[in-house]
């Protein structure tokens, strides 16, 4: 599924400074029963966000009207555990286009890139600066500049982030891997014919 192009995102951000946020928290398993990709945003962080009677938990950040925006800032080791792409879908469907963390779990990071959510890994020190800026002013606008591979705070402080050239191109153009792979089917066939298994 192709997605919208990502170039420069300027937005307020939602802070979630908890470490080791696993994909079971991002979307609990009981909400994985759909056969289509829609509506997952409603259950993003379901058990942290709602009580058993479906009333919102007031102390959870997504229920705090002070915070909103297209950027989610998470603690270290964000997205660990289950490979469920539904976690990335839920993040996207809720309205986030970018997740910033000082460290990402591998599969979650790949899933985000495959669906058009930009995972931005910054140093622990810069992540702390982002959290502090949002805490001081929830209306802080953060710029995520993909062409320049930079995260920029209103104070002018910035940090570069890594992304390989291929994935960067995909995000800038809204392409996905299947577009690429289907264009090399003949090469794959020839390779497969020689493979021992």
């Amino acid at each position: 599924m192709a997605y919208d192009k990502f170039e420069i995102l300027k937005s307020t951000a939602v802070p979630l400074p908890i470490e080791n946020v696993d994909t079971d928290q991002i979307i609990p398993a009981r909400f994985l029963k759909a056969t289509e990709r829609k509506g997952f945003g409603d259950n993003l962080f379901r058990d942290w966000r709602y009580n058993n009677d479906d009333s919102p938990k007031e102390d959870f950040v997504l229920n705090n009207p002070k915070y909103s925006g297209k950027i989610l800032v998470g603690g270290k080791n964000f997205g660990s555990g289950s490979s469920r792409e539904h976690a990335a879908w839920a993040v996207y469907d809720y309205g986030f286009r970018c997740v910033i963390s000082s460290f990402f779990a591998d599969i979650f990071k790949g899933n985000c890139l495959n669906i058009g959510v930009l995972p931005v890994q910054v140093s622990a020190g810069f992540a702390d600066k982002i959290f502090a800026a949002i805490e001081a002013d929830p209306n802080t606008e953060i710029e995520v500049n993909l062409p320049e591979q930079k995260v920029i705070l209103p104070s002018g402080e910035s940090e570069s982030f890594d992304i390989n050239g291929y994935k960067k191109g995909n995000m800038l153009n809204g392409f996905d891997d299947i577009d690429y792979l289907t264009s090399m089917k003949e090469e794959i066939k020839a390779f497969e014919a020689k493979s021992p298994l």
Partner: protein, 465 residues
């Protein structure tokens, strides 16, 4: 040039290296289940393309299947819908499908090896992070997202940057009562849940050489819990003995040819790793977890560490202990428990049930414990009956359920209620993993059995004297 086991398998599957990007990797075996595949099938349909190599994909239903009354229609309409979608998609694309009720049905990572789909030197993927299990055979096996499931269906390839390489050595002999699960939980507790992120692990040393194939599967299964994409062990005589004669393994001259290749699958003596870690087997005792990620584990005789003794932030640690309703400094031994779950792709094989049965034999299930015994497959279920384990279990007050993922992720009705404690042989103790509000203590089948008959956390070695 000297190569590691991982290099040999990875490099031989690279169709193309993308400049400043990932490798295009050919996938030999693709397993699909009902939960992470429907959107991928929908994707290829919307693109108007088919499945490129249907004979390389295998479908089984496991994640949300009931574990009682499997002969009756599935009650939950959403689960029934997913199961029906898998059956329809498999049929439409000519993929073999071992659905609910099929004699070969079971957990994807249990049935793959049982029927010889899992082979040394293969690349194996599935939309499930515990695909790393298959690394026990010297395969490169790892979990993928649904977009990648779609890629494999459409082109038999995925695009992945080559991970870094780590070797974990465990030297010496294991202590009495220490199982492969304990070895894995020990390693994860030392590395943390992110300690191997970005790496592919090779397990080496006497402990793994001496381990059975099922034990190796348990260890490789848990690789993802320290952040690794996967883990693998070089194939040896034990591996070849295990796979020989299984339905999907090569036969006759093909077997001989395969063996020639498989025997080359070991790390060259002077090959190097990006990171190498060594542990001593004698330092490991039966393990149990006390927190809300698999890295929060300790030797069963130890007490819960203080925040200053662990890596990571104090507030995250406090949140975790608060969820478990445990305190820093608490002893684990003697903690009352409510549920015991033996099963899952981690510990749902016949050796796990043998270990469990050994301890409960001649004893009775504690009255305060609800026990769910869920075999990983019909084949495991049949072995439990044939070996006479079921009689012993029944005598001790236990019932056997039907195969599936069950309470490991509680997508079906096997949910641990809020606030209750479960000693579980599965792989994750995340908040709510076994049901909203549930509290999970991960452990080996021996520790689970000791808890099941005493109603509290008990050192299994006390019951094995």
């Amino acid at each position: 040039m000297s190569k590691t086991l991982f290099d040999k398998v990875w490099d031989s599957h690279v169709v193309r290296h993308v400049e400043d990007g990932p490798d295009v990797l050919l996938i030999d075996r693709h397993m699909v289940h009902e939960v992470t595949s429907p959107v991928a099938f929908l994707g290829i349909k919307n693109r108007g393309i088919g499945v490129m190599y249907p004979n390389k994909t295998f479908a089984t239903a496991d994640h949300n299947t009931p574990t009682i009354n499997q002969h009756l229609p599935v009650q939950d309409p959403l689960s029934a819908n997913q199961l029906a979608a898998l059956e329809k998609n498999a049929k439409e694309h000519g993929i073999s499908h071992w659905g609910l009720g099929h004699e070969k049905n079971g957990i994807v990572h249990v049935v793959g090896p049982e029927y010889g789909i899992t082979q040394p030197g293969a690349t194996i993927v599935c939309g499930d992070s515990h695909t790393s299990t298959h690394g026990a055979f010297g395969a490169i096996a790892f979990g993928i997202g649904t977009s990648e499931v779609e890629m494999v269906l459409a082109t038999q390839c995925i695009m992945q940057p080559k991970p870094k390489k780590m070797r974990i050595n465990v030297k010496g002999d294991l202590n009495f009562g220490v199982t492969p699960k304990d070895v894995a939980l020990y390693i994860i507790s030392r590395l943390t849940t992110s300690g191997a992120t970005g790496y592919f692990v090779e397990y080496a040393g006497e402990v793994f050489e001496n381990m059975t194939m099922e034990g190796r599967m348990t260890v490789c299964n848990l690789s993802i819990e320290m952040g690794a994409r996967g883990g693998m062990i070089a194939p040896d005589e034990k591996t070849f003995e295990y796979i020989k004669g299984r339905e999907h393994t090569p036969k006759g001259a093909d077997w001989d040819k395969a063996m020639e290749y498989w025997k080359t699958l070991k790390t060259d003596p002077d090959a190097t790793f990006d990171k190498e870690i060594t542990f001593e087997a004698s330092d490991i005792e039966p393990m149990i977890t006390y927190g809300t990620n698999p890295g929060m584990g300790l030797g069963i005789s130890k007490s819960i560490p203080t925040a200053s003794e662990v890596q990571g932030g104090a507030s995250t640690y406090a949140k975790s202990l608060n969820y478990m309703n445990f305190n820093e400094g608490d002893n684990m031994i003697g903690k009352p428990i409510d549920f015991v779950f033996i099963g899952s792709c981690t510990n749902g094989r016949i050796e796990d049930f043998r270990a469990f049965t050994n301890i409960v034999k001649g004893r009775k299930k504690a009255d305060n414990v609800t026990a769910w015994l869920v075999p990983g497959s019909h084949k495991v279920e049949a072995a439990i009956k044939e070996e006479g384990l079921l009689d012993i279990l029944t005598e001790a007050g236990f019932e056997l359920r039907e195969p599936g993922c069950s309470a490991c992720l509680a997508m079906n009705d096997d949910k641990v209620p809020a606030g209750k404690y479960a000693v579980s042989t599965s792989n994750r103790n995340f908040e709510g993993r076994q049901g909203p509000g549930s509290r999970t203590l991960l452990a080996s089948p021996l520790v689970a059995a000791a808890a099941a008959v005493t109603g509290k956390v008990t050192d299994p070695r006390e019951l094995m004297k």
